[in-house]
Symmetry: C2
Subunit: 361 residues, 2 copies
Amino acid sequence: MNYYRPVVRLAFMGYGHVARETIKLLHEKAASLPFSPAIAGIYTRKLGYRWVPGKAFFPHEIVQELPPARRVQGGPHKFIERVQADVVIELTHPNIDERGEPAAGYIRTALETGKHVVTANKGPIAFHYAELLNLARKHRRLLRFESTVADGLPIFNLVRYSLPLTRIGRVRGLLNSTANYVLSRMAAGVPQMRAVAEARAAGIAEADFQLDLDGWDSAIKCMVLANVLWQPIELENITRDAFDQRAQEIIARAAASGGKPQQVVTLTRSENGDVHAAVRLQVTPPGDPFYSLSGYDLGLILETDTMGNLFLVEQSPGLRQTAFGVLADLVDIYLRGIAPQREPTLFDADPEQSATLTDDA
Amino acid sequence: MNYYRPVVRLAFMGYGHVARETIKLLHEKAASLPFSPAIAGIYTRKLGYRWVPGKAFFPHEIVQELPPARRVQGGPHKFIERVQADVVIELTHPNIDERGEPAAGYIRTALETGKHVVTANKGPIAFHYAELLNLARKHRRLLRFESTVADGLPIFNLVRYSLPLTRIGRVRGLLNSTANYVLSRMAAGVPQMRAVAEARAAGIAEADFQLDLDGWDSAIKCMVLANVLWQPIELENITRDAFDQRAQEIIARAAASGGKPQQVVTLTRSENGDVHAAVRLQVTPPGDPFYSLSGYDLGLILETDTMGNLFLVEQSPGLRQTAFGVLADLVDIYLRGIAPQREPTLFDADPEQSATLTDDA
């Protein structure tokens, strides 16, 4: 156990389900965090700016009651500039139509004013990754985004820390719970709209579920994966199957062949470095690893030159998993971006010597 | 690309298939390694000590020809003391009968004389983990062992770096390729000894294949997992099914029920902290994630309090995967144990800024 725990001040942009779950998880894990989180401010579209300049709140206080609303002259950017935070946690809407704005702008302002950034927001990482990463490096701040693809499934942290020197040649994924749940229910004879209603009741479907079914959500995740693993790909260049045109056909073909109808993402990098991506409705045969996925399961296969094929599955994803991704990013930023500035060498901060691997609390 | 790459000197204990494959992989990945590996010495039971005091060899030289043999007064411990290496790579035999000796002793001597250690050897980590970890801490050196369970499947690196604050309550695994391959072939009507011969021809089976079939190999891996994730468990307390007594029965039951006969490892930690482990021959029903595994596939399900169930699969494991685990450990030791002593802050050594995530070489 650490007896001395530095305070890390957080500002939240957005206060929806993910932000609430993140604050709950921070509260739940308070005893084993290597730092003491304090919430310096919250910007919420519906409830205004929630902060008291110069004061920060501990997670349990926020869980009980939001701080009072304050008017901020100059809007969200002025708030990000002024709030005394070490890390901005950006959880506003992806806004595909606006190519990740205004969220990307929030991240820019945060990095430019010396804050590290965690985002669970696909939009900015899909449309502005290279620019934001350069900005982060310029200001010597860290940008983390584990929850943008498959909730908190540790894809980027795995590639970053556990697959050194590895070339990934191809990625296949089931990245959208709603599309695959609806397909499986329709295959079982449930009408499409009832299946969508079930996914909504489970808190899984996007507000506009057609973004899930028609592969827009998965295509945006393709962009994030391509950006981070390889190089950018344009949304217009990602092949997508329209749900209404193709779902019935693949459900019938699946029934005839003993396979499963699924929405499958495929990203490949060819020898010359070109990246191709597609989100297809297709029949998965029984021998395929994805055949074992059901319900809301998400999965990813990384085809590597060092480890062969690596198959990761998140069984029954949900809000808690997304919040965990945010928390994992926050811990990573603490260990790599905040602790080393305060401690003489990182050798002392080896997580093996912290609560991580030997947590008995 | 890094233009300045510090030399990291390696000594190999053992020069079997894994060591050769590791040196090949070091050679193959030379251009993207953050350091320049130099081999300061090799101890091999069959070929003696291969070193030239004061000189180190680059991997491509070793690939071509071993250094000349030298007699070392005092045996392997004297060699480990005297060899001028930053990291000892311990790849000798697990030696279950001797409870991980003499390999554990090699690791002790290496740590005591200021070397970091990578091992792919289950024995020392199964029988002496707590002691070796304490010794490493005392001497401010790192001990890494990713390849001891499921080859290079990044289990320990995942837990260490990507699952912070996470409690693992249960682990299920298919951890022995030979046992599961033989069961699947016997279920397809192939005689046991022919299936074993196939596994041997593929380079998968242990020299004494009965250690695979009777669950000894998996039980040792249970000990490693329990040691690292929780607390030690004694080999005598791990339930094992004897292959010859039970294989035919579960193959028949699997055929009758549409399931698969598999050797499944289960580790649980109860509320009061007790650890239970078992290696059972059992029938896996079609709904179970392990049902999707076939051939030599290995898999692991971590039941966590943060991410739900996380399912990792290594498709078609082999020597290259084991060597990759050794290499990943070596990179981790470099980034955490060697680079920070040389560079002002670890912020500069953020792997995101190295070749890892943006490798275009």
